[in-house]
Amino acid sequence: MPFKIISSQCTGCSACETECPNVAIFEKGGTFVIDPKKCTECIGHFEEPQCVAVCPVDKTCVIDTSLPRYQPPA
């Protein structure tokens, strides 16, 4: 399950964009969006998802339950 950003809460501060190890985050119409194909939930990079850690607004970067979990390559 990759992460997604709830755009109505996103302040467009761009903090997550620079922290994402997969370069999965980009700007779209003033707020930021996570490309689910690139998101690895920071597995193998960090202890916790960097977008969640740096986001100034709580509960804005959340797990996208509509998608399958990220599987690290075997």
């Binding site: 302040t11 467009g12 501060c13 761009s14 903090a15 964009e17 620079t18 922290e19 960090f46 202890e47 916790e48 960097q50 850690a53 740096v54 100034p56 607004v57």
Partner: protein, 498 residues
């Protein structure tokens, strides 16, 4: 309750001049430092009457959360840090700087102050500085940071010739820090509470020491949060002074609920004018205190206290023809310097005349001004009042009071007047260029004397002249000298309930 006699700026040296740069004269500052601050409106109280600054909002991201900050909401009429109407790329910012420089020749300083933390956006911040240094080398560069990432960037700051750095330091005790900062993001990890505050204070003080060692002028900003850090800020002051900070700016907390900040929503009290002044006076020893901060936005343009950012929106800059001519700017600024030299302010009331028991009388007065240290504003049009403390040792600038005309439409003219009177309630007189009949009688009723006889003269000189006659009247028993109580630094906005 803090009580301390002002020292430093308020006392007179042998030459009868105040002993710090805060009065605008060189005082005891070494020439090299004076050269750096004399045209920086934030570093010299007198320069701020003449020189303008601008901020460019190229740094939206932040590496921590402060309880007094919320960058989510923006209203064009709000003036507080962390607020901006539009974000810019480095290239747009550089173009904006040139556009402003060519239209406002007294703009001498470019600062990057957010709306997040400039050093959490190092590429954007430093690229902007590089572009501006190349295109407009006469503009001073300045940045304002929370200090968390500062030690990593000191070398770059020195290399790019950024002469002024402001660090916001609200505590040196992690227990207090934990009440101000819910979390920080450091080295790829989020830290909370005590642990976060411990890392933060270590990094801040380390950054300050590194800057001082490289001869970069450091201003320290502190937010005064009643009940949390007001006493502790005296310790902070000592800590930053001993590490070479040049100037300390203690600012009142802004915490209106509608800003949506944690403090605002919690109903955290903001300091009164008297509390703020007492704390500033208590810290004013060997160190300059800044009292003229307007807590401006991340996209402010113009003289402190005026905001011309609406003239320089992205949309408008695109259509502007930029004609940046350093010679024109130089000539204009030489004119300003000429004007500054011509301005002589007597700093002492003639002591001989008042040999009476009233020698230690101090009163606050307010001046309606739109800049240049002059009484040049109509009472009803004033956006701010500058407050001076007058005593036998002269007039000393102690702060300003904002008069907001709120966009929510909650004020009628009557409420406006009441709010203005509340804001200068601790002043004995208000100096204006002109004033109408109703405000005159309302002010008199409130015990504030409206004075219009010094229209278009310098506030300081006028205050001293007025104070002489005030002392005479006290001496002759014509008036009673009484304590005026307290004033509100910012009015509470009235939100109309629809």
């Amino acid at each position: 309750m803090l009580a301390a006699e002002p020292k430093g700026c308020g006392t007179l040296t042998k030459r009868g001049k105040a002993s710090c740069g805060a009065h605008g004269d060189q005082g005891d500052l070494p020439p090299a430092i004076w050269d750096k601050v004399k045209t920086h409106p934030c570093y010299s109280v007198e320069a701020h009457h003449h020189y303008a600054r601008m901020h460019v909002a190229v740094a939206p991201a932040c590496n921590m959360q402060c309880n007094y900050c919320n960058r989510k909401y923006d209203c064009a009429n709000e003036s507080r840090p962390g607020v901006t109407s539009e974000k810019l790329t480095s290239e747009q910012a550089a173009k904006k700087v040139l556009a402003v420089a060519s239209r406002i020749p007294q703009m001498t300083v470019l600062g990057i102050a957010g709306p997040g933390d400039p050093l959490a956006n190092p590429e954007k911040t430093f690229r902007t500085f590089e572009l501006v240094a190349k295109a407009a080398p006469d503009i001073k560069l300045c940045l304002s940071t929370n200090g968390l990432a500062l030690p990593d960037h000191v070398d770059t700051i020195a290399r790019l010739n950024i002469e002024h750095v402001t660090i916001t330091i609200n505590m040196i005790d992690p227990k207090i820090g934990a009440q101000v900062y819910p979390w920080i993001f450091y080295n790829g990890k989020r830290y909370r509470d005590l642990e976060a505050a411990k890392i933060l204070t270590t990094r801040q003080l380390q950054g300050l020491e590194m800057l001082s060692a490289r001869g970069i002028l450091c201003k320290v900003n502190s937010v005064m949060i009643p009940g949390i850090n007001e006493r502790h800020l005296i310790e902070v002051n000592k800590a930053v002074k001993s590490r070479g900070a040049f100037l300390h700016n203690i600012m009142p907390l802004i915490a209106a609920p509608e800003h949506g900040t944690a403090f605002g929503l919690k109903g955290q009290r903001v300091p009164t004018a008297r509390e703020l002044k007492a704390l500033q006076d208590a810290c004013e020893g060997e160190m300059n205190m800044m009292r003229h901060c307007r807590q401006c936005r991340a996209d402010a343009v113009g003289l402190l206290g005026e905001d011309r950012s609406a003239e320089f929106t992205k949309e408008k800059i695109v259509t502007m023809t930029v004609n940046y001519d350093p010679e024109v700017r130089k000539a204009h600024q030489a004119g300003i310097e000429e004007e500054r030299r011509a301005r002589s302010v007597p700093r002492q009331v003639d002591v001989g005349e008042h040999e009476c028991g009233s020698s230690d009388i101090k009163v606050l007065i307010a001046g309606a001004t739109k800049g240049f240290g002059l009484i040049n504003e109509h009472f009803g049009h004033a956006k701010e009042f500058q407050v001076y403390e007058v005593s036998r040792s002269g007039a000393k600038f102690v702060g300003h009071r904002r008069v907001d005309h709120y966009c929510q439409g909650g004020y009628g003219a009557q409420d406006d007047l009441a709010a203005i009177i509340r804001s200068i309630n601790d002043c004995r007189a208000v100096f204006v260029a002109r004033i109408g009949g109703r405000p005159t009688s309302e002010l008199n009723k409130a015990g504030i004397e409206p004075v219009d006889q010094y229209a278009h003269e310098f506030i300081e000189n006028s205050a001293i002249a007025w104070f002489s006659s005030y002392l005479e009247k006290v001496k002759s028993g014509q008036i009673q000298h009484v304590d005026r109580g307290d004033g509100a630094i910012r009015q509470d906005p009235i939100i109309s309930v629809a």
